[in-house]
């Protein structure tokens, strides 16, 4: 008889069937840094892409009479040393600084504006269709000229914190959407190139080499300059993502090709082939799933590049333009000697960009380790 695999007195170890994904998840969870990065990213995307109107205390274009106001400090103890559990800010008074020959705003310690959560403010539509007017924080029953600017204002008196939140929406999305497009181009072309080989492979390879040999910035400039000036900001936005994706798919395509080439020789692929599996089945059942983990990791690690590319393009004035607001646009506004001298709080944008990029890198590193749960190969 066939030897029984489970024998009579076999020590039965507790076994829970774990799929590949659950193993990956299990290993990922153990990596605290990566989980932290992931949480930061989820928070950022949720706050900035889905509910920015709620998070931001004011509307993107809400101009006030306080241009270039410095950030108000959030306080619990007032000038008299009285403690209040509810944080507050002082009101702002306009003053002319003789030396700088410039209008500045100083805190008026006699006026306290307590900060409350969930206050009524500017009306908005979440995701374009859910109407609301509640904001995460602000001043309850704010009268005219009662504001809280935790990160100051810009030259038009718009709350800078709100602008960063709204700017994050475009910047973060451009990274994500751009990367999705890159994945599409890169993995399809890479997979086709690796699977079929021959002339197709030759062509795709030479083309990616050509693209990667081309210097980035001039290419961006040429392509971005080709966007007609009269296009609507949204069209420009999409064009820019497509340009970014177009320039960057080459590297991914090469990696996917390499993976497919090595997977193609795996015995399980040969087994499916010997059973008569069609090309489509081999591709979608056996080859691509094997590359997905790598693709996700590569993608995660290259989204920061996308975000930076958008930022630098916009900073150069080649990317998004006002009235669209992205981090790049905000940085461009801050990118003058004047701004750095007199409104340094506009550099808060940099902090947000850094956080986003570091979070992506932490997540990506964690994913890379976790995607290989069997330990080596």
């Amino acid at each position: 008889m066939v030897a029984k695999a489970g024998t009579r007195r076999e020590v039965k170890a507790k076994q829970v069937s774990q799929s590949y994904l659950s193993l990956v998840w299990w290993k990922f969870k153990k990596n605290r840094v990566a989980v932290f990065g992931g949480i930061i990213l989820i928070l950022m995307y949720f706050c900035m892409c889905i509910i920015p109107e709620f998070i931001a205390p004011y509307d993107l274009e809400h101009s006030t009479n306080f241009p270039e106001a410095r950030p108000q400090t959030i306080r619990f103890i007032d000038a008299q040393g009285k403690f209040s559990i509810q944080p507050f800010v002082y009101g702002l008074d306009k003053k002319i600084d003789e030396k700088l020959r410039k209008r500045v705003f100083v805190e008026n310690t006699s006026v306290k504006y307590p900060i409350s959560l969930f206050v009524k403010g500017d009306k908005y539509k979440l995701l374009g269709f859910i109407p609301g007017d509640i904001h995460l924080f602000g001043i309850r029953n704010a009268q005219k000229d009662q504001y809280v600017f935790i990160m100051g204002t810009d030259s038009l008196g718009r709350d800078f914190f709100s602008r960063i939140i709204f700017g994050g929406r475009l910047s973060l999305l451009i990274g994500l959407i751009g990367q999705v497009l890159t994945l599409l181009f890169g993995s399809v072309l890479g997979a086709v190139s690796g699977y079929y080989g021959g002339a197709v492979d030759m062509f795709v390879q030479r083309f990616t080499e050509f693209l990667s040999a081309f210097p980035d910035i001039p290419l961006f400039m040429a392509l971005a300059a080709a966007i007609p000036k009269y296009w609507s900001p949204i069209a420009v936005y999409f064009m820019l993502t497509i340009i970014l994706a177009f320039v960057r798919w080459g590297g991914l395509a090469r990696q996917v090709r390499g993976l497919i080439l090595s997977l193609r020789e795996r015995e399980y692929v040969l087994a499916a082939k010997s059973a008569g599996a069609s090309d489509a089945r081999l591709m979608f059942q056996h080859l691509l799933p094997g590359t997905v983990s790598h693709i996700i990791v590569i993608a995660t690690l290259s989204i920061p590049g996308m975000i930076l590319a958008e930022t630098s393009l916009s900073w150069l004035g080649l990317g998004l333009r006002a009235p669209l607001t992205s981090w790049g646009v905000l940085l461009q506004e801050a990118g003058t000697v004047y701004a750095i001298r007199f409104t340094p709080w506009q550099l808060w944008t940099v902090i947000f960009i850094l956080i986003a990029i570091m979070a992506y890198n932490m997540l990506g590193d964690g994913l890379r380790d976790a995607m290989d749960p069997y330990g080596g190969r």
């Binding site: 695999a5 069937s17 799929s19 590949y20 399980y268 499916a272 010997s274 008569g276 599996a277 056996h286």
Partner: protein, 354 residues
């Protein structure tokens, strides 16, 4: 549809009528490419004019040193590699009329016909880690051939469960993933997959060489049991001579892409006719400390398949080589009944077996 490929076999073929696979002059050359333009500068003659046959329900062992082309031969038969030349006749039931087998030439077949044949020929692979897709459950892995051929139906899961039980796994293993199993169990999964379409020929490519001794014995026994139950024919590719002798009815010895000798297993091991077989047998370590063997040391290395020597490929290492061996490629001929050899001096030499 099969007119073109159904071929009348000529008279030089082995006489028996129960032949299931008849390989004739099979060749597989891999091009060596160089330079930017991938110019072909030569060929690796992995399989170079190989002929052998397999009878219904028997095991043919295919042995040889690494790089001798035994694995390539197995894969070329099932058209994982496109043959460069030669014919592979297979007695197919699927393509035959009213259940009668019909000889068809796999080497000439188009893709759709070949797909039908793949129900009758399956493969078992060497590496228990790499031969199962880590992202599929055992059930899906075993069911895959059925799905490919559109034969997965309502009661297929029951069939798969009985198949798993047949190879010594439990029904609850169905939803598990390959990494939860030991090497021996994975090899059983691979065997179950190979059997899921009731094939008549299974090509086993080093199925036990990555397994521990005790697991190897279990797996060999399982393969033998399955052969008896389902009347399977095996091509058993391996480098371990003792394993091959144990499982095979007949054995073909390959050297640098050619078959040197083919005979009944006992006959081959005890009365080899080819000097290479003799040397190979003498080199096998015998698990018996009292056995003192006279070892024949082969000079030099295995010939380079991209640049083989003239005449008989074995002559530079052969201690019986003569002038003719350098000049003429020996003919692969039936010297004794059912004992084929490719050596000029096979008639005159008396060689020692194990």
């Amino acid at each position: 549809m099969t007119e073109a490929v159904a071929v009348q076999r000529n008279d030089t073929s082995p006489k028996r009528s129960d032949i299931i696979l008849d390989v004739k002059g099979l060749k597989k050359f891999f091009p060596i490419q160089k330079g930017l333009l991938r110019r072909v500068v030569g060929y690796v003659k992995a399989v170079d004019d190989v002929s052998f046959f397999v009878r219904e329900g028997e095991t043919l062992g295919l042995v040889g040193e690494s790089g001798c082309g035994k694995t390539t031969a197995g894969r070329t038969i099932i058209r994982l590699y496109e043959p460069t030349g030669g014919d592979v006749y297979f007695s197919s039931r699927v393509l035959g009329e009213n259940g009668k087998p019909k000889m068809v030439n796999l080497a000439q077949m188009d893709k759709s016909q070949m797909k039908l044949i793949r129900q009758e020929i399956s493969m078992v692979f060497q590496d228990p880690v790499n031969s199962l897709n880590p992202r599929m459950t055992v059930g899906d892995i075993v069911a895959e051939p059925m799905r490919i051929h559109g034969k997965y139906g309502v009661d297929s899961e029951r069939v798969i469960i009985s198949l798993l039980e047949r190879v010594g796994l439990r029904p609850d293993h169905l939803r598990r993933y390959p990494h939860e199993f030991s090497g021996g169990q994975r090899q059983r999964i691979g065997i179950a997959r190979a059997l899921s379409l009731n094939p008549r020929l299974v090509i086993c490519d080093e199925p036990v060489s990555a397994l521990d001794v005790s697991i190897q014995a279990q797996t060999l026994n399982l393969l033998e049991d399955l052969q008896n139950d389902f009347n399977l024919a095996y091509i058993f590719v391996a480098h371990d001579l003792s394993v091959v002798q144990h499982i095979s009815d007949r054995v073909a010895v390959m050297y640098v892409g050619k078959v040197a000798e083919m005979a009944d297993s006992d006959e081959l091991y005890n009365h080899p006719l080819h000097p290479y077989t003799e040397a190979l047998m003498s080199a096998v370590p015998k698990p018996d400390p009292k056995y003192k063997s006279e070892r024949i040391i082969m000079q030099g290395d295995v010939a380079d398949p991209s640049n083989p020597p003239s005449g008989c490929y074995f002559h530079p290492r052969c201690r019986y080589a003569e002038a003719i061996c350098k000049e003429k490629v020996p003919e692969f001929r039936e010297l004794r009944p059912d004992h084929f050899v490719a050596c000029h001096r096979a008639e005159e030499l008396t060689l020692k077996g194990v």
